[in-house]
């Protein structure tokens, strides 16, 4: 599903060039559950942003289902993010003014889905993550674990091909983190491709494949070619 080759991302810090990604080549197949690990500053988030269409590579190619995402224009990237990618962030990123249901509806709004259908789908997704009874709650009225589950429901709204999660349990305690990971396992069993960026060895252990980064390069990949 994903083909990345010779991927580079360099930032210019004054005179100095910082290579966030030096030379990354990897592929991920549909249905995989991948953990991306590595020390801080090794380029994990940068890779995730490029894979999710939030950022463009400085060099190299990125193909998603044979489409050259690296060459998309802004609008194409927006639609790509909207329809094919689901993001889960460490800090949940829910809009505080909106209810849980409305937060889940957001990607559907940008997809141009009818209000009625939107509400049905959002409600169904909230049910799926176990929050069927919390639909009208504001984010501030929910626990961290519940907020992250709302965020996951939101990521699933448009039926994405790939779920990208950057430290999804980083802001949660052990128990609620486990709930979220269980939910991920379940989604992966249902066929969703998962890529989780993490520091946590426990989180990484639950993935079927681990890709380790250091200084913007892949240093180990226990599932390459799978």
């Amino acid at each position: 599903m994903i083909e990345v080759s010779g991927l580079q991302k360099t930032y210019l810090m004054g005179e100095e060039r910082v290579a966030a990604l030096a030379d990354v080549t990897l592929s991920i197949a549909r249905g995989e559950h991948v953990a991306v690990i590595g020390p801080s500053g090794s380029g994990k988030s940068t890779l995730m942003n490029i894979l999710g269409g939030l950022d463009r590579p400085s060099a190299g190619t990125y193909r998603f289902e044979r489409e050259a995402v690296g060459e998309f224009d802004d609008d194409q990237l927006a639609d790509f993010r909207n329809r094919r990618i689901g993001f889960v962030f460490q800090s949940f990123q829910l809009l505080p003014r909106l209810s849980a249901l409305q937060n889940v509806e957001l990607p559907l709004v940008y997809a141009g889905v009818d209000p009625r259908e939107r509400r049905e789908r959002a409600a169904e997704l909230l049910g799926r993550v176990g929050l069927g009874s919390r639909m009208d709650h504001r984010p501030t009225q929910l626990s961290g674990g519940q907020q992250q589950r709302v965020a996951i429901a939101r990521a699933l709204a448009n039926g994405p091909d790939l779920l990208l999660a950057d430290e999804p349990t980083g802001a949660l305690d052990q128990a609620t983190g486990q709930e979220v990971l269980t939910l991920f396992d379940e989604l992966n069993r249902q066929g969703l491709t998962l890529l989780v960026v993490t520091h946590d060895a426990g989180v990484a252990a639950r993935a079927r494949r681990r890709i380790a980064f250091r200084d913007g390069r892949v240093v180990s990949d226990d599932g390459a070619g799978a």
């Binding site: 939030l54 809009l95 990607p107 709004v109 940008y110 448009n158």
Partner: protein, 408 residues
């Protein structure tokens, strides 16, 4: 995304902070209210000037003796004045003349049955009524023969009739004007106050000759007159007539080519035009000053929208991550400022119109709210919203989603 959702997002953000939104729109409220009110005041003045000048008589030339250009010309004892014969010549020789009335005039005390009243007396001919757009309410007007014979008869304005003969029919009664006895033969129909605030019914008309010999003998010599009113059928004829009258009088007064006129011709139509132009300038000036406050209101919107974009950077980043296109973000913020501005404009319009109406009623200023006030002021509100919302919206749309999401 659907347009309806765009509106929902924009209005949602406004409703989320009602106090702040109200204060943001306040500048536009004040601006639009000021523009509407100032325009209404200016147009009111314009209407007043129009009715004041056209109240003097429409399609009218007023010919007066003297060069009229300051003291020098008058001190030089310019020319020979105007006479009955000039008036007669105008009537006979100028084409398109509808009415000609020579006139002498002055203030006089009028006494009847112990009541007395100071008023303006004009010695005129029958045509005066037509020239000044007057009519008789009761009794009759004197005819030209009576005007020239100098019979001591008088036609009273409504005010004079009421003052001297309260509750009585003045026709046939005798009055004393100055020192001479006159018989009242008619009463003029009321014209009310002129636009200049003068009571147009405070007047007495007498035959020209009678006024000259009995009332103003000391000031008016021979068959001289102080004014000649000349009326044209319509405004087009008026301008041609003005030239003809000038040419005729120059010829009659034997004024050498190149020398100055020894008379003045005032064309009511051009005075009206000048008056209208002046008040129009006044209106535009008022509206322009008010428009500045509308601009300031726009700057206020821009300011708050910029703050809002900064505050909501993370929200913008998130929306982009979830699939909002840059144009969606642009439209959301542009629409928000347009909605703020339009809302402010709507309230400002209501305040401006009620202010103008209040001013008209309480302040007795004839404020006139023009029909186009609503569409124009609302149109301008939208324009202000677009112009001053464009930059903040553009800033929002240009944000880098990754950086925006990282913002605390």
């Amino acid at each position: 995304m659907k347009t309806g959702d765009l509106f929902r997002f924009s209005l949602g953000a406004i409703v989320a902070h009602p106090m702040r939104s109200a204060l943001t729109a306040l500048g536009v409220v004040i601006g639009v209210a000021a523009v509407v009110m100032m325009t209404a005041i200016g147009l009111g003045a314009q209407q007043q000037v129009t009715s004041a000048i056209s109240g003097l008589g429409s399609n009218l030339l007023v010919v007066t003796p003297g060069a009229g250009r300051g003291f020098a010309a008058q001190a030089a004892g310019s020319g020979m004045g105007l006479s009955d014969r000039d008036a007669a010549a105008i009537r006979q020789q100028v084409e398109g003349v509808v009415a000609v009335s020579p006139a002498v005039r002055g203030g006089q005390q009028v006494v009847a049955q112990g009541a007395n009243w100071n008023t303006r007396v004009e010695g005129v001919t029958q045509d005066y009524l037509a020239a000044r757009d007057l009519s008789i309410a009761s009794g009759r007007m004197f005819d030209d023969r009576e005007a020239q014979q100098g019979r001591k008869i008088a036609v009273l304005g409504q005010t004079v009739a009421d003052e001297l003969f309260p509750g009585l029919d003045p026709i046939g009664q005798r009055v004393r004007i100055g020192t001479a006895p006159f018989e009242v033969i008619g009463v003029l129909a009321s014209k009310g106050q002129s636009g200049f605030g003068q009571d147009q019914d405070d007047i007495v008309l007498t035959p020209l000759q009678a006024a000259r010999s009995r009332l103003f003998g000391r000031r008016v010599k021979g068959d001289n007159v102080q004014q000649i009113y000349v009326k044209a059928a319509d405004e087009d004829a008026l301008y041609a007539m003005e030239d003809d009258v000038k040419a005729l009088l120059r010829e009659r007064h034997r004024i050498a080519p190149g020398a100055d006129d020894d008379f003045q011709v005032q064309n009511m139509a051009s005075i009206l035009e000048a008056g209208q132009q002046a008040t129009q300038t006044f209106t535009v000036l008022l509206a322009a000053v008010a428009a500045v406050s509308l601009l300031v209101g726009g700057v206020g919107i821009m300011n708050i929208m910029l703050v809002s974009v900064t505050e909501r950077t993370r929200e913008i980043g998130l929306r982009m991550a979830l699939g909002a296109r840059r144009s969606d973000v642009l439209m959301q913020f542009a629409l928000e400022s347009v909605a703020l501005s339009l809302g402010g404009g709507l309230i400002g319009l209501l305040i401006g119109v009620s202010g103008a109406l209040l001013l008209a009623r309480v302040g007795q200023w004839p404020a006139a709210v023009p029909a186009w006030a609503a569409p124009v002021s609302l149109g301008f509100s939208v324009l202000v919203g677009v112009v001053f919302g464009a930059y903040p919206a553009w800033r929002a749309a240009r944000l880098d989603p990754i950086e925006a999401l990282r913002r605390e």
